[in-house]
């Protein structure tokens, strides 16, 4: 974790290629999070999963170094306050475990709000889980959030100020937006670019609705955010749900 100096850099994205691990034993799990656990920051969420894995007694593969941690990879970090409907993470195991056993033990041990929806043995080699994420779908809910979609200009740039560690910079939301539709007056569905190359945070999408479609700031600040799914791109360019 971030607060512990790690003498050897951990490269979980290559977990299945590590020399000390047998390939094909990485469990790819789909999970959801709701309720209080949605307020966990990414590092805290990782810690909760780590302690859960340790409690299950499953044979885990650990990182090397003086402070060993289970090898885990989350497809895309979840921001604070964001519910997950169907996210994906890899967990490296040290022995052959049936996916059903993994799911059963995890769900018996995870804290309220986190659930494993399903698991399979991760494919060997190839692209890492994090690099595979290209798009994400969200449902954003709050008074007037859906109605604002129709007021958003149909074309042209949608500049929004993105606050970073060193001041804010202007980001154009338009090219990061793949699909946007109102569900009802108070909710919208969006498909946006996601991953390490291009990524649209849902709060920036809400800010675009404030800046360019007259959504009240309060409605944006208090909106509920649910990430419904993550997507990758198939060899033929088709959109494939990550699972």
């Amino acid at each position: 974790m971030s607060d512990r100096p790690n003498p050897r850099p951990r490269r979980p994205e290559n977990a299945s290629n590590r020399p000390n691990m047998t390939p094909g034993r990485t469990m790819r799990a789909r999970f959801s999070r709701t309720g209080a656990t949605s307020w966990l920051a990414h590092l805290d969420l990782m810690r909760v999963f780590e302690r859960t894995l340790r409690r299950t007694g499953l044979p885990l593969a650990f990182t090397q170094g003086f402070s060993p941690h289970p090898v885990m990879t989350f497809a895309l970090p979840l921001g604070v306050g964001i519910d997950a409907g169907d996210d994906v993470a890899d967990f490296a195991l040290d022995a052959d475990i049936a996916p059903e056993e993994f799911v059963g033990k995890m769900n018996a041990t995870l804290p309220e709000g986190l659930r494993i929806l399903g698991a399979r043995i991760a494919p060997e080699g190839g692209e890492s889980l994090m690099a595979a994420v290209h798009e994400a779908s969200y449902v954003l809910r709050g008074p007037g959030v859906g109605a604002a979609v129709a007021r958003l200009p149909a074309a042209g740039p949608l500049p929004v100020a993105k606050k970073g560690k060193e001041g804010s910079k202007i980001v154009d939301v338009r090219p990061l937006l793949v699909e946007l539709a109102a569900k009802d007056d108070d909710a919208l569905e969006a498909l946006v670019k996601a991953g390490s190359r291009e990524n649209l945070r849902p709060d920036l999408l809400l800010q675009a609705l404030v800046d360019h479609a007259g959504l009240p700031q309060d409605a944006a600040d208090d909106a509920e955010t649910l990430r419904t799914a993550l997507y990758t791109t198939g060899p033929d360019g088709a959109r494939i749900r990550l699972a």
């Binding site: 805290d44 302690r51 003086f66 402070s67 060993p68």
Partner: protein, 531 residues
């Protein structure tokens, strides 16, 4: 929470505090008192016991500051003196039976609870004061209350039942690990140390039960680290046996063993190497005072030679620094003693230069830290005045001027907080109204120096006609009735007087294993007294 109308609630079931039968606080340090009052109020419970109705919870307390709970006496229905393992069971049984019988007035329950040994019901005692403001007497006003309340302890810690499936927080917290309590009490008898007196006598747990707990607790919680807990880990007689197995056990589970500061000798260095593998954990020493004379006064059994030998071993073992803790304002301290701190630091610096160059891979990093001496109840120094804030600041400044080396970092504590801590530590019931008023005016998180405002507290004390120096800076005569005289921790007052006189004479006292000094803790019939 007040603005939104959300009452303070429990972690697991989110139940508002006011719906519980009992609400318990551990009083770890004096500056937490305002926070405790704020929490009672946030929980929707009347802050004063006198204002609570029959269906309000019983607000109870324990912990080291419960032994002089007088500044908080108006706010707790009852207080447990000593260790809670057995008392709490008896208290809950009593409450269960009382509830089944259809309850009744609160005082009825408190009257029954007061008969349980170790339970103190503050409202059953009347405090009267002399004209000079000192306490004249603390006397029971009900037949159920005994004139003195003797603390309760557990003699067999192996049978005490430690929780293994503790709550695991979802967020990173302090002390975020499994803890193994090696023993309670301390054999050393440092004269300033309240913990060293109030937890007597020393009782150890067996290495086998600790090892069992370590494995069961890590399996149940998933914690990735185990820590050892005690007042002086090097004094644990089973340390070698415990760690020999534990390091390997935990390594198999990929769990770290984090070591507390140990007295540095070859054995502990080897252990530190083994436990930390790659990382070198920091070394900490607490000589407490800069000269041997003053270390003898406080009965700190550390000699300069010990420290230098330890530092040499550490430097040769690859460490490049240490943290040294001292106290300023100890009884009889002079500027010469303060200069002794700098002299020790410079001696360590000189020692560093004698270490072969190939072992000095990084530059020396010596950390000198001073806190203010705060006289505490139930210690040999309970009659001593705290030095004035001006005097302590002058000493800090002098030391800063002496420690100008690049290799030495000097850190010091805020005098304001230590002063108010001294007021509360030996305070009486009149301070209750001060605390209550402070909280009403928004005082809280006083242990965080950016939230602490001494002038606000002193203003309230002045309004109520109380003089902080009366509590903090006054030399108290041995025959003065203290606000805590009706509480008995098993260490006799006469022993504390003897220790106070020995301190004046610069005479040391043997530790419990070298020879019994006759403190009175034999009254409990176990522990190191009968080893």
């Amino acid at each position: 929470m007040r603005r939104e109308g959300i009452p303070l609630f429990s972690l697991e079931s989110k139940t508002p505090l006011r719906e519980f039968d009992f609400v318990g606080f551990t009083l770890q340090y004096e500056l937490s008192f305002p926070n405790v009052l704020n929490m009672i109020d946030l929980g929707g419970i009347p802050v004063r016991t006198a204002d609570r109705a029959d269906d309000d919870p019983f607000v109870i307390a324990g912990g080291p500051c419960a032994y002089n709970v007088e500044p908080m006496a108006d706010f707790f229905d009852l207080v447990v003196m000593g260790e809670g393992e057995e008392v709490l069971g008896e208290l809950l049984d009593l409450h269960g039976a009382w509830k089944k019988a259809g309850k009744g007035p609160r005082t009825e329950f408190l009257a029954r609870a007061a008969r349980i040994p170790g339970i103190y019901v503050p409202s059953f005692y009347e405090v009267s004061y002399n004209e000079d403001g000192t306490v004249a007497s603390v006397a029971p006003n009900r037949p159920e209350a005994s004139a003195r309340v003797l603390k309760r302890i557990v003699l067999d810690l192996d049978a005490a039942g430690y929780p293994e499936d503790d709550l695991v927080p979802n967020l990173e917290t302090v002390h975020d690990r499994v803890f193994l309590e090696l023993f309670r009490g301390c054999i050393r008898g440092c004269r300033f140390c309240q913990a060293g007196y109030i937890y007597r006598p020393v009782r150890e747990r067996s290495p086998e039960s600790l090892r069992k707990q370590a494995l069961a607790a890590t399996a149940a919680t998933g914690y990735e680290e185990v820590g050892l807990l005690s007042l002086s880990t090097s004094d644990y007689t089973g340390l070698a046996e415990l760690t020999a197995h534990l390091v390997d056990d935990l390594d198999g589970q990929r769990v770290n063993l984090s070591l507390p500061s140990l007295r540095v000798d070859s054995v502990s260095l080897e252990l530190m190497e083994k436990a930390s593998k790659v990382r070198k954990s920091g070394l900490t020493f607490a000589p407490e005072a800069g000269t041997q004379r003053l270390r003898d006064v406080v009965n700190k059994g550390v000699e300069e030679g010990d420290l230098m030998r330890s530092m040499k071993l550490a430097f040769e073992g690859g460490w490049n620094g240490a943290k040294l803790y001292f106290m300023l304002g100890l009884p009889t301290e002079t500027m010469e003693d303060v200069e002794g701190i700098a002299a020790l630091a410079h001696q360590i610096e000189a020692l560093w230069r004698t270490i072969p160059r190939e072992l000095r891979l990084r530059p020396l990093d010596l950390n000198i830290s001073t806190s203010m001496f705060v006289p505490k109840p139930f210690t040999a120094f309970q009659w001593e005045p705290q030095e004035s804030m001006d005097g302590m600041r002058a000493k800090q400044q002098h030391l800063r001027n002496l420690l100008r080396s690049k290799a030495i970092r000097y850190q010091w504590h805020d005098t304001h907080q230590s002063f108010f801590e001294a007021v509360l530590a030996r305070g009486d019931r009149r301070l209750g109204a001060v605390l209550e008023e402070g909280v009403k005016r928004g005082r809280r998180f006083d242990s965080w120096d950016d939230h602490f405002r001494l002038d606000a507290w002193l203003g309230i004390m002045a309004e109520q006609g109380l003089d902080p120096a009366f509590y903090a800076n006054r030399k108290r005569p041995y025959d003065e009735t203290t606000p805590w005289d009706h509480i008995d921790v098993g260490v006799e007052r006469d022993f504390l007087v003897r220790e106070s006189r020995a301190a004046e004479a610069g005479e040391t006292t043997t530790n419990c294993r070298e020879g019994c000094a006759g403190c009175g803790a034999t009254v409990f019939g176990g522990g190191v007294c009968f080893e």
